[in-house]
Every structure is written in structure tokens, then in C-alpha cells.
């Protein structure tokens, strides 16, 4: 029989070996995250205050706030900020509406529900480049199917140059983004809807609550938590998205869809000015951190409300 002290000594050594195991099993993950996210993050902030050029190694030295001043005085900067806001808010609102509507629909007990759910999910699997190309082709003013149907249906007199017209370009890229991104909302809402007890609906129905009131007072309260998190994630994902706009318009026509990530790309890969690109990245990091703070406060308020 082991004495109490031996047991305790055994527990301590077991605890130590557990700790060692825990750290070593997490080590590979740490190596990747530190080397390819942590280190670049530090680099981006340092470079924002330095003169760095991708192809001119002789350029160097401390820059102070020069890079920031240059970014802010870029004639395209104010427009890019505005477009980024429109692009983000428009996309997230659209995705939320379509996602919620489709989730409520797919939550109804109908035959073939599983198949409908799977099919709805497919746009999300498509590479962004493919979504962009396919819609560019469908919206093509000369040979595109959408314009052809619109003209034939008498909705428009002549084809619309959706991506080539400065007033249409932004709504069009937002529309395509909504098409590709909404399934993520659908599936998140569906997961949350499963947690709503069926009896609650029945009770509400027996009480004679209208469908709207049933949604407002029975369903929606349970969706608030998941709504908060997916809206937060998508505000960040959308505001920093480079691919969609780049593959569809490259920021055009005539800068009508230029956003901040496109500007970062242009600074870095076309003007090779790492300092400016890093300064703008740093500004965007500050922006996303602010979004995070807002999210965090809401989250706390919501948790307190739900838990009482």
C-alpha cells in the first residue's frame, strides 16, 4: 500500500508529465502560428514605421509616420474607405437576410429536407475565383444569360453592363458575394434552430400567436447569440476580402470598387512599397481590433441577459 505522501508525490510527477505532454503536443501548432502569424504580425507593424521596398534593397531606415501620411493622402484612400464600408455592410446585411430566410425554410419538416440542405450549401464550396468568373460570364452585357433574360422579360430596354458600369459594379460584386457566402449563415442558423424546443412553438401556436410573433418572440431570441458571432466573423472576413473584387473588377471600373485590401495589394505588389502596404495593414488591424472590442462588449451584455 502506498502512503499518503507517496500518492501525493506520484500525483505531482504525473501532473508534471501531463504538463510536459500537453506542451509538446501543442508545440507543432505553436511553431506554425508563431512563425507564420505571430512573426509576420510583428513585421507588419515594424515595417509600417520603416522605409522598405521589395525590389530596392538599398531603401531603408526609420520612417516615423511618413508611410501613414502617404497612405492617408493617397487620392484613392477616402474612396477606398467608403467602398470598404459599403461592400462590408451591404454584403453582411444581404447574407444575413438570405441566410436567415433559407434557414427558416430548411427547418420546416418537409420531405427531402436533407437534400435541399446539401444543395443550398454548394455555393459555399465554390472557389471564389470560380464564383466570380461564372457570374461575370452570366452578367456579360453581350452574350450573358442574365441580360438576355432581362431584355426578353421586358424588365430592361437594353443590356446592362453590370461590371463595367460604375454605378452597377459595387451592387453586383455585393450580390455575387451574398450568393457565395450566405450558406455559412444558413448552416449556423440551422444548428441553432435545432436547439429551440418544439413545444414552445406548439404552445405559441395554441395561444394564437401569428407567425411573425412566433418568430419574434420564440425563434429569434435563440438566434441572437449565433447571429452575433457570425455577423462579427463576416464583418471581418468581408472587410478584408481581396479575392472577390480582384477577380471580378480589379477595383474598377475607374476605381468604382476599389477597397482597402485592393490598395494594400497595389502598394505591395505593383508599387513594391512595403512600408505603405504595412502602414495600411496596420490601420486595418486597428480597425478590426475595434470591431472586436465592440463585439466583445455586446457578447458580454448578451450573455448576462441570457444567463440572467
Amino acid at each position: 500500500m502506498a502512503t499518503g505522501r507517496e500518492v501525493r508525490a506520484g500525483a505531482v510527477s504525473r501532473r508534471r508529465s501531463d504538463t510536459r505532454f500537453a506542451w509538446s503536443a501543442m508545440a507543432p501548432a505553436w511553431v506554425f502560428l508563431v512563425a507564420l502569424i505571430g512573426y509576420p504580425l510583428v513585421l507588419v507593424v515594424l515595417d509600417a514605421f520603416s522605409h522598405v521596398n521589395l525590389i530596392k534593397p538599398t531603401v531603408g531606415g526609420f520612417a516615423g509616420l511618413d508611410n501613414f501620411a502617404q497612405v492617408v493622402s493617397d487620392p484613392h484612400f477616402p474612396a477606398a474607405v467608403g467602398h470598404t464600408l459599403v461592400w462590408t455592410v451591404g454584403s453582411v446585411v444581404g447574407e444575413y437576410a438570405v441566410g436567415l430566410g433559407s434557414a427558416l425554410l430548411l427547418n420546416r419538416p418537409v420531405r427531402g429536407r436533407g437534400a435541399f440542405r446539401a444543395l443550398t450549401f454548394i455555393p459555399w464550396l465554390v472557389p471564389i475565383i470560380v464564383a466570380g468568373m461564372t457570374w461575370s460570364w452570366m452578367l456579360n452585357p453581350d452574350f450573358g444569360i442574365v441580360n438576355s433574360l432581362l431584355v426578353k422579360g421586358g424588365l430592361v430596354d437594353r443590356p446592362i453592363n453590370f461590371l463595367g458600369d460604375a454605378t452597377w459594379a459595387m451592387p453586383t460584386v455585393i450580390f455575387v458575394n451574398v450568393w457565395r457566402s450566405f450558406p455559412f449563415y444558413t448552416i449556423s442558423f440551422l444548428a441553432a434552430l435545432q436547439a429551440v424546443p418544439e413545444e414552445l412553438y406548439e404552445a405559441a401556436q395554441i395561444d394564437g400567436a401569428s407567425p411573425w410573433r412566433r418568430f419574434r418572440y420564440v425563434t429569434f431570441p435563440d438566434l441572437r447569440s449565433v447571429s452575433l458571432i457570425i455577423v462579427f466573423i463576416h464583418v471581418i472576413w468581408t472587410s478584408v476580402n481581396f479575392d472577390f473584387i480582384w477577380v471580378m473588377t480589379q477595383g474598377g471600373p475607374n476605381y468604382a470598387t476599389i477597397t482597402l485590401p485592393i490598395l494594400i495589394y497595389r502598394y505591395a505588389m505593383q508599387q513594391f512599397d512595403v512600408g505603405m502596404a504595412s502602414a495600411l495593414s496596420t490601420l486595418m488591424l486597428i480597425g478590426t481590433s475595434l470591431v472586436f472590442v465592440v463585439y466583445y462588449r455586446y457578447r458580454r451584455k448578451l450573455s448576462e441577459e441570457i444567463l440572467g
Binding site: L105, W237, S278, S281
Partner: protein, 280 residues
């Protein structure tokens, strides 16, 4: 009687709405397929038709043979499979620790770091990553893409796998440990075999993420030999701005593997994603 008609009407409305939803989701695919099988004169018709008068595989031959897409597909496969295997190996370990030692400080720190790093978007790190890869001398190689893709999926894979481990009772492995099995041995022999569905869904997520990624592939690789399929489509468009048939054929090629895998494994995938989504 009245209630029954009411029910029937709502039922019909739901089916109509579902049909609209499915058309909205799938029409672009249908049109992509149709266009990819059309000869060039039918592609460039003022009034496009849904039927193909003379179906042809010319677009596919053109893309695959003349424009090197066989190479791009192979590169994409190599990169995606490697990124998938690597991220699985890493997050199977970290996810296990997350699940079994969740009270340890080590786990709390790591969890926080992963949450934060998941919120840092790739495009903001594009420039320093490019410079880092250049310093490591792996720019223009598949390794740069494999490392980048792995890094950005590690947090979510870890969270998803840790919730999968949570559903496996610890008593199972305690018995094996008492029998003198080491921790890794127990993990491999006892736990992983029961986890196959979760591993499939997480691996699928990592694979699809890598297969679909565009920006890093576009920026890190400028030579044809190592180019992956998504940047290749972009460059194909730039070089042949009017070859929509070829572009649609390339798109079909890029979508098909992912769509097929998904349709076969969607049951695993949907439930895995749903649990990850709720947890996150």
C-alpha cells in the same frame, strides 16, 4: 376542413420557395456546365440558349492540353493533400490536449492565441509572409503554399477536433494507459479509430480550404511549373479575355472534385461544420 386547406397551401408555398432557393443556388453551375460544352459560335450568340446544338469537348481539350491545366490540377492536388495531412496531424495533437487538459493554463494561453490568430486575416499579413517566404528561400515553391494554408486552418481544425474528442469518454483511454500504453500509442490505437467521421470532416475542410484559396497562390507563385488551379484561372482570363467557353471548362474542372467529394461525404461534413460553428 379549413385547417387542412390552410396546411396544404403553406406546404405548397414552402415547396415553391425551396425550389426558388435551389435554382438560385444551382443555376450558375448549370450555366457553367452548359457553357463549357458549347462550341465557340454558340457561346457568342446574341441570345444564348439553354440547349446545346452541337455539344463539344473542345473547351476541355483546349484548357487541359494547350493551357497546361493538367499541371495546375496536379499542383493543386499535391498542395491540398499535403496541407490537409499536415493540418490534421498538428490539430489532432493540439485538439486532444484542448479536450483532455482544458483546465491547464497551457491550454488557456494556446486557446487565446488561436482565437486571436483566427481573427487576423491573411491579406493583412500578405506582405510580411511574402518577405518571410523569400527569406526562407521557398517562394515559388509548393512548400510555401502548404505552410501558409496549414497555418490558417490550424485554429478551426483544433477547435472542431477538440469538440470531437469531448464526445469520447476519458475512461476509454485511462484503461489503455493502465495497461501500460503510452499516451501517443493510446491515441493512435484506441481513440483515432472511433474518430474517423470527425477526422474526415475536418480533413475535408482543410482540403477544400487549400484547394479554393486564391490570393497566396496568386502572389507566391509566378512560374507556371508550380502554379495551382485558382490563380491559373485568373491568368487564363487575362490572357484570353474572350474565351468564355475555355474559362467555364476550367471552372468546371476546379469545382467538380470538391463538389463530388462533398456530395459523397456531406453527412459528415455538415454535422462537423455545424458543431464547429456552434462552438466557435
Amino acid at each position: 376542413m379549413k385547417i387542412r386547406t390552410y396546411r396544404r397551401v403553406t406546404h405548397a408555398v414552402i415547396y415553391v420557395l425551396l425550389a426558388i432557393l435551389v435554382v438560385y443556388c444551382l443555376f450558375p453551375f448549370a450555366w457553367m456546365m452548359i457553357s463549357s460544352l458549347k462550341p465557340i459560335d454558340e457561346i457568342r450568340m446574341r441570345v444564348p440558349t439553354f440547349t446545346i446544338h452541337r455539344p463539344t469537348l473542345d473547351n476541355f481539350v483546349n484548357v487541359l492540353v494547350e493551357h497546361n491545366f493538367t499541371t495546375y490540377i496536379r499542383n493543386s492536388l499535391v498542395v491540398s493533400l499535403a496541407a490537409c495531412a499536415l493540418s490534421l496531424a498538428i490539430s489532432l495533437l493540439s485538439g486532444y490536449v484542448f479536450s483532455r487538459f482544458y483546465r491547464r493554463r497551457a491550454v488557456k494561453y494556446t486557446n487565446f492565441f488561436m482565437l486571436v490568430s483566427q481573427m487576423i486575416p491573411g491579406v493583412l499579413l500578405l506582405v510580411p509572409l511574402y518577405i518571410t517566404m523569400r527569406k526562407l528561400g521557398i517562394l515559388e515553391s509548393k512548400i510555401s503554399l502548404i505552410l501558409a494554408y496549414t497555418t490558417f486552418v490550424i485554429p478551426l481544425c483544433t477547435f472542431m477536433l477538440s469538440s470531437a474528442y469531448d464526445s469520447i469518454p476519458a475512461s476509454l483511454e485511462e484503461a489503455a494507459v493502465l495497461d501500460g500504453c503510452g499516451r501517443l500509442e493510446t491515441l493512435r490505437r484506441v481513440i483515432l479509430p472511433i474518430m474517423v467521421p470527425s477526422i474526415v470532416s475536418v480533413g475535408l475542410y482543410a482540403f477544400i480550404n487549400a484547394w479554393n484559396e486564391f490570393m497566396f497562390g496568386y502572389v507566391f507563385i509566378s512560374q507556371d511549373a508550380n502554379r495551382t488551379i485558382t490563380p491559373a484561372i485568373m491568368l487564363f482570363k487575362g490572357a484570353n479575355s474572350i474565351n468564355w467557353g475555355g474559362l467555364m471548362a476550367a471552372s468546371v474542372i476546379a469545382v467538380l472534385p470538391v463538389a463530388l467529394i462533398f456530395l459523397f461525404l456531406q453527412r459528415y461534413f455538415m454535422s462537423g461544420l455545424m458543431s464547429g460553428a456552434v462552438k466557435g
